[in-house]
């Protein structure tokens, strides 16, 4: 039912979402920890910046990114200077855009999970000879594992579902930037409703399963967490 090119777009989407989620977890974990513990005046500003993609139309974010990544933009000049070349309309550009666009979906569940972890766990770990970094990996991460699950699933799913930013920054290049959401648009434009149906159904089932897993797991929280 799915054509070879449809399968290619699915694989590309999977690759994009996995890579973006990994990067978001790496950036989002320290950022969310800092946001959950800091009393700095910058907290509000950083929170607002991270949450911006939640309210901004994807085309606006995409537009600014396109400018920044382009030959005259700051990031564009940097990447050229580094010898990486231009990022617009490349897979790497798409990953960068996805990370920025979906970051709030990773940071916010992590921040909530971290904020729920009482200081007493850190105190206890410290009196049991664990350094701060050690405590983070041996106590905080396990206690926040539901937060990590939510963050990964939401970040991944949201990257799979993006459309506007992809069109602005990545365009529609087969095997490079043509992801599922764009391919569905192509099918509909070409009046290939049958093929659009196939891909749309895949995304629908995927999204529903993801949310179902998320809500069932969160339902069975430990009492010990709070």
């Amino acid at each position: 039912m799915l054509s070879a090119s449809d399968l290619d777009t699915l694989l590309l989407t999977l690759k994009l979402a996995s890579l973006a989620t990994l990067i978001m977890l790496l950036i989002g974990t320290p950022l969310a920890w800092w946001l959950s513990r800091t009393q700095s005046a910058w907290k509000g500003v950083i929170n607002a910046i991270v949450a911006l993609p939640l309210v901004l139309p994807p085309t606006v974010l995409g537009f600014y990114l396109l400018l920044a990544l382009g030959p005259h933009g700051a990031i564009g000049q940097l990447t050229r200077w580094l010898g990486i070349g231009g990022l617009p309309f490349t897979f790497a550009g798409l990953v960068l855009a996805s990370v920025l666009y979906s970051l709030p979906f990773v940071v916010q569940p992590l921040q909530t999970a971290f904020a729920a972890i009482d200081q007493r766990w850190l105190d206890t770990a410290a009196t049991l000879r664990a350094s701060r970094l050690d405590s983070f990996f041996s106590v905080i991460l396990p206690l926040a594992k539901h937060g990590f699950l939510s963050a990964s699933v939401l970040g991944f799913a949201h990257t799979v579902g993006e459309f506007g930013v992809v069109l602005m920054v990545g365009g529609n290049i087969p095997d490079q930037t043509r992801v599922v959401s764009v391919q569905i648009y192509n099918h509909v434009e070409a009046l290939e409703y049958g093929q659009a149906h196939g891909l749309a159904a895949v995304l629908l089932v995927f999204s529903f399963s993801v949310l179902l897993v998320l809500y069932s797991v969160n339902h069975k929280r430990w009492d010990g967490l709070r």
Binding site: T124, R129, S131, G224
Partner: protein
């Protein structure tokens, strides 16, 4: 000796103290909430910063604000038992106990884990997760987890406060057992008089961030210049030795330097230490030895100090052999008997209770 000097200022609350504490035995930090007991423990553990500090334990400097010394909490060789057991919920009991052991310096001598597990009665719990344990069981595991580190000092912050009466009674014998076996100093925070009487060797009375009194349990309890001596619960604690059983009358006799007491039959071996609590309100004073009285315990005593309290009451501090004794009598009785300091009298002890064994 360990010396701790701390000065902390949180605006609304100040802590300022300088204490030299003994190297063995249980020192109870006693006081109302907000008196700074928990803050002191947190300062010693390095969990809380102090504006000025000097902390020396076993001849090792842990903290000194003038020299810029601050040993981070995870490098301080201590054990800490919190009010809540704080067992990590994602680890089993055994893994919780191993958590600290795995992180110990190679040079630290190993604690005898098997003995510890037996002492706290947690052998059957080792493979369980913390949320499957009762509050008392959790706290026993927390104590084992702290002691498994073979610490140089044990800090206990109201370890029984979160437990109901039944659980408290279940855990106290374990604590008394530890009190007699441990060779390290224990700092024990509580606001429960009963826990203090049962566990303390020494006490530090704290009030609004300052030390009000410090000394051995018996010594501080008998000080009539302290508010404690004027309260209804005022009492003396005698350290005695079980010297005889009287099967016929179901009595036991305990002895101290200078006399003995008769108590309801005790289930313990001759020669064992018995801690006896005598309420000041259960002690009466006679000028001559009563010839016919139903009260068994009549002892010669010397009046050391007299102090008037509110409500027509007078507090009398006496010496019976080598033990100090408080008596609450009415001011009128004091007047009628003409009691003065240095007088030889007899005390009748109407009731006493045993705090251990």
């Amino acid at each position: 000796m360990m010396r701790c000097q701390f000065q902390v200022d949180y605006g609304s609350f100040q802590l300022a103290l300088d204490l030299s504490l003994p190297n063995r035995g249980v020192t109870v930090l006693f006081g109302d909430s907000g008196s700074g007991k928990t803050s002191l423990l947190r300062c010693i553990a390095g969990l809380q910063t102090a504006q000025s500090a000097h902390l020396e334990i076993n001849g090792k400097l842990w903290q000194d604000s003038d020299q810029g010394v601050f040993l981070p909490p995870h490098h301080r060789p201590l054990g800490y038992v919190f009010q809540q057991a704080n067992l990590f919920p994602h680890l089993t009991v055994a893994e919780n106990i191993q958590f600290g052991i795995k992180r110990l310096d190679k040079s630290t001598a190993k604690a005898n884990l098997d003995e510890l597990i037996a002492l706290l009665g947690i052998k059957d719990l080792l493979n369980r997760l913390p949320d499957k344990l009762s509050g008392g069981e959790q706290q026993r595991v927390a104590i084992a987890r702290a002691l498994a580190l073979n610490p140089e000092i044990l800090l206990m912050d109201e370890p029984l406060a979160a437990l109901d009466f039944k659980r408290k009674q279940e855990i106290l014998p374990y604590l008394q057992n530890l009190q007699q076996r441990l060779e390290i100093p224990v700092l024990y925070v509580t606001h429960s008089l009963q826990e203090m009487l049962q566990l303390a060797n020494h006490i530090v009375l704290m009030n609004q961030g300052k030390v009000e009194a410090f000394g051995s349990l018996a010594q501080v309890l008998s000080r009539i210049d302290l508010p404690l001596a004027k309260q209804r619960e005022a009492c003396s604690v005698w350290h005695t030795v079980l010297s005889a059983h009287d099967a016929e009358y179901q009595l036991s006799e305990v002895s101290f330097n200078g006399g003995h007491l008769h108590l309801p039959s005790l289930n313990a071996e001759l020669g064992s230490a018995v801690r006896v609590q005598i309420y000041a309100r259960d002690v009466s004073i006679c000028l001559e030895k009563p010839q016919a009285s139903s009260i068994l315990n009549v002892l010669p005593a010397i009046i050391e100090q007299i102090s008037d309290a509110d409500g027509g009451q007078t507090v009398v501090q006496l010496r019976v052999g080598d033990q100090a004794l408080l008596a609450h009598i009415t001011s009128k009785s004091k007047q009628l008997l003409g009691l003065i300091e240095g007088m030889a009298v007899y005390v009748q002890i109407k009731g006493s209770s045993v705090l251990n064994g």
